[in-house]
């Protein structure tokens, strides 16, 4: 019987639980909702945990780490992002930090394409029309959307996700694919994507997918001036980070017809309040940050987080280790 203990801050997929049970006594917050901060702090004081498996909703800062005690070896987050973890505080206490990179790429790329298709073909309006009784006899010109064939696609950020989005969209018959990134990348060749700058992207593209991180450089890149210079028929899709788009400017652009439509899986803020003007607009589709929500992706994330914990107590380097600068 192991004497190593792990605390999980949420109910997680079974593959994660089972993996942890191979090397730990497992305690967890038995809920689908986020653990309140004080509850976490109190809980960590009740036992000497060797590992903490957390979610991106948990703020792992000084108070939590103090409560956990000096025997804590690792904070393993079930996410790619780790901006909720105080890396300096962990480093000062020799606590490893690990995330779950790579395993959500396919599901996020798939969701991006799903959102693009949904927006282009006005599926939200179609579903509403059926529910509300607006569906009459078949009419040739009703609910016509924008066909992908022969259109120009732009990908803003050709990392793992951007590239996989491009790969999935290629068979739909775009006449041209452009991409923007900090520099040219050789694998762009595999999807016949041509390097351009932001100006070239917004001037030429009928569809634009935002697949980049949020940095000071990309913040509010899509603003009032950009929307004015984009094509009037343009459709903008964002599955990167909400802050890349100025949402007030987007509202105006959609109202005025500066661009045709938008599909967002990420917003500013998240969650987006239901009263926000974008929610009610017919030419805007909002999803509640569903990017990685396939069973395979979430199971893999849980399992990797668990493996990260097991590695830490065996004095091995976790596969998802985050190196602190």
């Amino acid at each position: 019987m192991t004497n190593k203990k792990v605390y999980i801050t949420r109910r997680i997929p079974k593959p994660g639980f089972d993996k942890l049970a191979e090397g730990f006594e497992v305690d967890f917050y038995d809920s689908d909702d986020a653990i309140p901060h004080q509850v976490l702090v109190d809980k960590l004081k009740t036992k000497r945990y060797d590992a903490l498996l957390c979610m991106l909703t948990d703020q792992i800062e000084k108070e939590v780490l103090d409560a956990a005690g000096p025997q804590l070896k690792i904070v393993a987050t079930m996410s790619v992002g780790y901006d909720h973890i105080d890396l300096q505080e962990c480093a000062a206490r020799n606590i490893l930090v690990a995330n779950t990179p790579g395993v959500s790429t396919d599901s996020v790329a798939e969701l991006t394409v799903s959102l693009l298709l949904m927006t282009a073909r006005r599926i939200q309006e179609g579903v509403s029309a059926v529910r509300s009784g607006q569906w009459g006899d078949w009419k040739p010109k009703w609910l016509c959307g924008t066909e992908l064939t022969g259109s120009t696609l732009g990908i803003y950020g050709l990392g793992r996700i951007g590239f996989n989005v491009g790969r999935r969209l290629k068979p739909f018959g775009f006449s041209k694919i452009y991409y923007v990134d900090v520099q040219e990348v050789s694998y762009a060749r595999d999807i016949d994507a041509q390097f351009t700058d932001f100006e070239g992207l917004i001037k030429n593209c009928d569809f634009i997918c935002v697949c980049c991180n949020l940095t000071p450089q990309t913040r509010h890149m899509f603003n009032k001036e950009s929307f004015k210079r984009m094509k009037k028929n343009a459709i903008l899709i964002n599955t990167g980070r909400g802050g890349v788009i100025d949402h007030d400017a987007l509202v105006e652009a959609l109202k005025n017809g500066d661009i045709q439509a938008a599909g967002l899986d990420v917003t500013e803020p998240e969650p987006l309040p239901k009263e926000h003007p974008l929610v009610a607009m017919n030419n805007c589709v909002i999803l509640p940050h569903m990017g990685s929500n396939t069973w395979d992706s979430r199971n893999a994330m849980a399992e990797i987080a668990a493996r990260n914990c097991l590695a830490a107590i065996s004095n091995k380097t976790p596969e998802g280790i985050v190196f602190v600068q």
Binding site: R10, R11, P13, D33, M55, T57, M78, D106, S107, E110, L111, V113, S114, L117, M118, R121, I123, Q124, G126, V127, V130, R131, G133, Q134, W135, G136, D137, W138, K139, P140, K141, W142, L143, C144, G145, T146, E147, L148, T149, G150, R167, R168, K170, P171, F172, P271, L272, K274, V279, L287, P288, H289, M290, N293, T294, W295, D296, R298, M301, A302
Partner: protein, 326 residues
């Protein structure tokens, strides 16, 4: 039709201007300028003595209508690829040619089929509703999760133009295996996807995604019934963008309610439009669209032009660009 006189043509609905203008250039066109169909008696009256009819998939072209048109009728041209609304035998008996619009709508239809599959499997309808109802809370590991295409088996029932194009679009999503069933093997098209020809039953048993892309015929009517849904996986996602008639809809409702299959995405139903109190609309795991598979500006305009050209060829006594042969 006397020599010198322009042929008389009836268009049964308001269609994209590109098509109407093409006909008006050389014909006397009577166009029903409404989005709503003519009544039965109005239709019979309107076709009396015409040389050609351009119709929609919601019109019934049967013996009665053909009689009303009279012996001068040379051609019926439908603005669709489906022609289950046309009595092909009665047309043949009267030497009336039938034009339809295959190929030109393949891209738009395949696009919508993939869009509907993904909207269903990735639970986008529920996601949108959560945002609208203020149910979007903080991130949860297991909220609104669905199956992905990565590593999945996709079964395409009906490996024609549309089915093949759907397969081609799905391939880069990481589909592990394509299966198809139908009347005959299509080795050339199958090779590109690595698709395997199997029996209908085997396809149902093995597929994570079952996509119906077959025409409605006597053989395919009610093909998807209780027995078929029983053979499918409990997690299977069923997509139909072909015709409502290939599905026994009550059996589908039962299968979805009982969890016998995972989810369904439908662009076609019985009837159309679907009444708003249909049980299908109460199910979270069912997405219903109002028959918009070919609904892009580009494709509808192209369909109208093709349908007009089919009609003009028939009036001239030429071979139609796309003709139904029996």
């Amino acid at each position: 039709m006397s020599s010198g006189a322009r042929p008389r043509v009836f268009i049964s609905r308001r269609i994209p201007e590109e098509g109407r203008a093409l006909l008006a250039a050389t014909c006397d066109v009577n166009s029903w300028e409404s989005d709503e169909p003519p009544s039965h008696s109005e239709y019979l009256q309107a076709v009396a003595g015409v040389d050609g009819i351009l119709c929609l998939l919601t019109d019934t072209i049967n013996g009665e209508l053909l009689d009303a048109a009279g012996p001068g009728l040379k051609v019926v041209s439908t603005l669709s690829v489906g022609y289950d609304h046309i009595d092909v035998k009665e047309c043949a008996r009267r030497n009336v040619k039938i034009g339809y619009t295959p190929g030109i709508l393949t891209a738009a239809t395949a696009e919508l089929t993939v869009a509907l599959l993904l909207a269903t499997s990735r639970r986008l309808k529920e996601g949108i509703r959560a945002v609208e109802n203020g149910e979007w809370g903080s991130w949860k590991p297991m909220w609104l999760c669905g199956p992905g295409l990565e590593g999945a088996t996709v079964g395409i029932v009906g490996f024609g133009r549309i089915g093949v194009t759907v397969g081609r679009c799905l391939k880069p999503f990481g589909v592990a295996s394509f299966l198809y069933s139908g009347r005959s093997e299509k080795p050339v098209e199958a090779k590109e996807l690595g698709a395997m020809f199997v029996s209908f039953d085997e396809l149902l048993a093995k597929s994570d995604f079952v996509v119906a892309c077959c025409a409605l015929t006597d053989k395919t009517r009610n093909l998807f019934n209780a027995s078929a849904f029983k053979k499918m996986k409990n997690s299977a996602v069923f997509v139909n963008t072909s015709r409502g008639g290939i599905v026994n809809q009550n059996d589908l409702i039962t299968a979805l309610q009982s969890g016998q299959i995972g989810a369904a995405g439908l662009d076609v139903t019985t009837p159309e439009p679907l009444p708003t109190d249909s049980p299908l609309l109460k199910l979270d795991n069912c997405v219903v669209l109002p028959h918009i598979a070919s609904a892009t500006h580009k494709t509808r305009a192209a369909m109208a032009v093709l349908a007009a050209n089919n009609l003009l060829a028939g009036l001239r006594g030429d071979k139609l660009p796309h003709e139904i042969q029996i």
